[in-house]
């Protein structure tokens, strides 16, 4: 019995470590190749985005794959993280001068704000199921986008000036000390570009650590029980409300962290955080395998890079991307192809070796 327990611990630990190692190996090799000039600027530029997309995909997988609730509003949480994290950095630029301290704080603050939103959104919609929940998350995401598009904040010596839906009358503002923080559809500018690949990879590893450990624990089993059969889970004494909220808040928290990372790397544009982005992340999750965390990592990397690698196809680029998406989806569900694929996985090769050893 003891042996069995150790064995099961070992296999899940091995699984996790192989994921960490995969991430570290991929990004180190990529970084080396970029440094050596073998991979060009494009690839170099893709590495940080890959990190935040991995975080987004992994965190969405927690909701979709592990809890089994379809969320189409992940971009909304990312948006909250980007705005809050970005504004935090702008406001504290002069107070906390060291980026080494400020940036991690901005990441946490962005994450917490998004996590809070996750809970706020989670509470009213707990009763909803399936596609109804999906549509409400979509609606929340769109509402967040609409709201941030309409916030105006200017800071000057006299303090903060807020406005909603109409821009601030600049005649009342001291132009010397004027600092535009949020400017409606023009959103935020001047966020320090602190993001880099090292921080990105560290964040990916932290996300993986937290989410994979969470899933592989008492709470994770509760999530999956709710997914597989809500009625029974309840009848077995699981507090559905509590665990759903845990998932929503963790998922939103990491989306917020990803958003904050994004804000410190790229340009914040509120129109980016629409349902199309949520769907893109969902595509990563589904193609990587629902509930499969490592799959999300791989899918995020490949699918984010794919349209960039197709650039030589010019006008046909997005057409090909669409076809690849459909074909991948079909193949992923084709038994013959899966069997064919299985033959070539390391796991299988491993298993063979082990079988021999056992015999």
């Amino acid at each position: 019995m003891r042996k069995l327990f150790l064995k099961s611990i070992k296999s899940s630990t091995r699984n996790k470590f192989s994921t960490y190692i995969m991430v570290i190996a991929f990004f180190s090799i990529a970084a080396i190749l970029v440094e050596a000039g073998i991979l060009g600027s494009l690839f170099k530029g893709l590495l940080v985005p890959m990190c935040y997309y991995i975080i987004l995909a992994v965190s969405l997988n927690l909701t979709v794959g592990i809890l089994g609730e379809l969320s189409l509003g992940h971009a909304g949480f990312m948006c909250v993280g980007a705005y809050v994290g970005g504004v935090f950095s702008i406001l504290t630029k002069d107070i906390i001068t060291s980026a080494l301290i400020r940036f991690p704080l901005a990441l946490v603050v962005g994450g917490l704000a998004a996590g809070l939103f996750g809970i706020l959104i989670g509470i009213p919609i707990l009763r909803l199921k399936g596609d109804y929940l999906a549509i409400v998350t979509l609606a929340f995401g769109e509402i967040i986008k609409k709201l941030v598009q309409n916030i105006y904040i200017i800071k000057d010596v006299t303090g903060f000036h807020f406005s909603f839906a109409t821009s601030i009358d600049t005649s009342t503002i001291d132009s010397e000390s004027k600092q535009v923080i949020l400017n409606g559809p023009m959103s935020i500018s001047g966020i320090p570009k602190n993001a880099n690949i090292v921080i990105g990879v560290i964040l990916v590893l932290i996300t993986l650590f937290v989410i994979m450990n969470l899933v592989d624990s008492r709470s994770g089993r509760a999530f999956m029980a709710i997914r597989d059969n809500r009625i029974v889970a309840e009848g077995i004494g699981i507090n559905i409300t509590k665990y759903k909220l845990i998932v929503f808040s963790f998922s939103a928290f990491f989306a917020g962290v990803a958003g904050s990372l994004f804000a410190h790397f790229s340009t914040v544009d509120p129109t980016k955080f629409d349902y199309n982005l949520s769907i893109l992340i969902l595509v990563f999750v589904v193609l990587g395998g629902i509930g499969n965390i490592r799959g999300s990592v791989i899918a995020a990397v490949i699918l984010y890079a794919l349209p960039e690698l197709l650039r030589s196809f010019q006008n046909y680029r997005m057409l090909i991307y669409a076809i690849v998406l459909i074909v991948m989806m079909i193949l992923n569900n084709n038994e013959k192809f899966l069997r064919f694929k299985e033959r070539f996985t390391f796991k299988r090769l491993f298993a063979k070796k082990h079988a021999k050893e056992d015999a």
Binding site: R127, I135, K146, N150, I290, M318, L319, I326, M329
Partner: protein, 292 residues
């Protein structure tokens, strides 16, 4: 007086949402999939009629028929090629494939018709209805409302009363058991897509007649709005789609008129959320009691 005006324009917008939502709900109700490509089939319908009229000089009537035929065939082909291989896959896989199809149609249209919006000339010849000096209802709106209502009634009767309709319901619940009844599951799903796509074509033609522009992305936003309308009304419910669509249009226009033009969409989304919190399966959605 202006309130009536807002109401009428909301009705006009809403009837288009309703028409699109009918197709959504139809496919969702039977194939149990969110066909995110529905909006793009609308666009194809619009472009077909556009081409038929402007390049082939077909008469409007023939163009409309061509549009419906093209979309119906397209819907069936898409189902065969992209969705059928996923019959036993999770509904999320099908959802993603539908998104792939949506990208595909958009980009094909972009390649064929270019990126600029084309001018669509309305196929509706009906004169506007002048109620009084202030109130006018456009011919397009009247036609849309009539068509939507007629389709709603016809679909409801078809699904609930006819034999093929019942077969659809059976398929939607348990494909295996439906097969045991001698129902051709693949054919039934094909027919569902055919009907859904034909509806999309009609919706596309009326949409482009009402707002006479068309480009590769014309169907996208109305598609999403109609999806929301369908959920608002209770997805899977045919009268629900109609009610949801019209309500959404009216809410959108009234919030533009009385609250904020910037936030109109946010407000309609908020209404949706409130409705669903009060009634978790939409306005007419059946509460599915799971007997244990």
């Amino acid at each position: 007086m202006s309130f009536l005006n807002y109401l009428i324009s909301g009705l006009s917008l809403g009837s288009i949402y309703a028409l699109i939502a009918l197709g959504y709900t139809m496919v969702y109700g039977i194939a149990k999939m969110l066909n995110f490509a529905h909006g793009d089939i609308i666009m194809v319908g619009g472009f077909t009629v556009f081409t038929a009229i402007s390049s082939f000089q077909f008469s409007p009537a023939i163009s409309i028929i061509t549009g419906i035929i093209v979309c119906t065939v397209l819907g069936v082909v898409i189902e065969k090629v992209a969705y059928k291989p996923l019959r036993n896959a999770s509904s999320l896989s099908v959802l993603i494939t539908a998104i792939g199809v949506s990208y595909l149609l958009q980009n094909l249209a972009l390649l064929i018709f270019g990126s600029s919006s084309q001018n669509f000339s309305s196929v509706v010849t009906m004169k506007p209805w002048q109620i009084n000096k202030q109130l006018v209802i456009s011919g397009e709106t009247i036609v849309t409302i009539i068509v939507t209502t007629a389709i709603m009634i016809a679909l409801t009767l078809f699904v609930n009363k006819s034999k093929p309709g019942k077969a659809m319901l059976a398929v939607s619940e348990d494909k295996g058991a439906a097969q045991l009844m001698g129902i051709n599951v693949n054919k039934t799903i094909s027919v569902t897509f055919a009907i859904g796509s034909a509806l999309a074509a009609v919706a596309g033609i009326l949409l482009c007649s009402l707002y006479p522009q068309i480009n590769a992305y014309t169907g996208q936003m109305p598609g999403i709005k109609a999806f929301i309308a369908a959920v608002l009304g209770g997805i899977g419910s045919i009268p629900g789609a109609m009610i949801g669509g019209i309500l959404l249009g009216i809410i959108e226009n009234l919030s533009k008129a009385y609250i904020s033009t910037q936030l109109a969409d946010a407000i309609s989304f908020a209404v949706l959320i409130i409705v669903l919190i009060i009634k978790p399966t939409g306005i007419l959605g059946k509460k599915i009691t799971e007997k244990v």
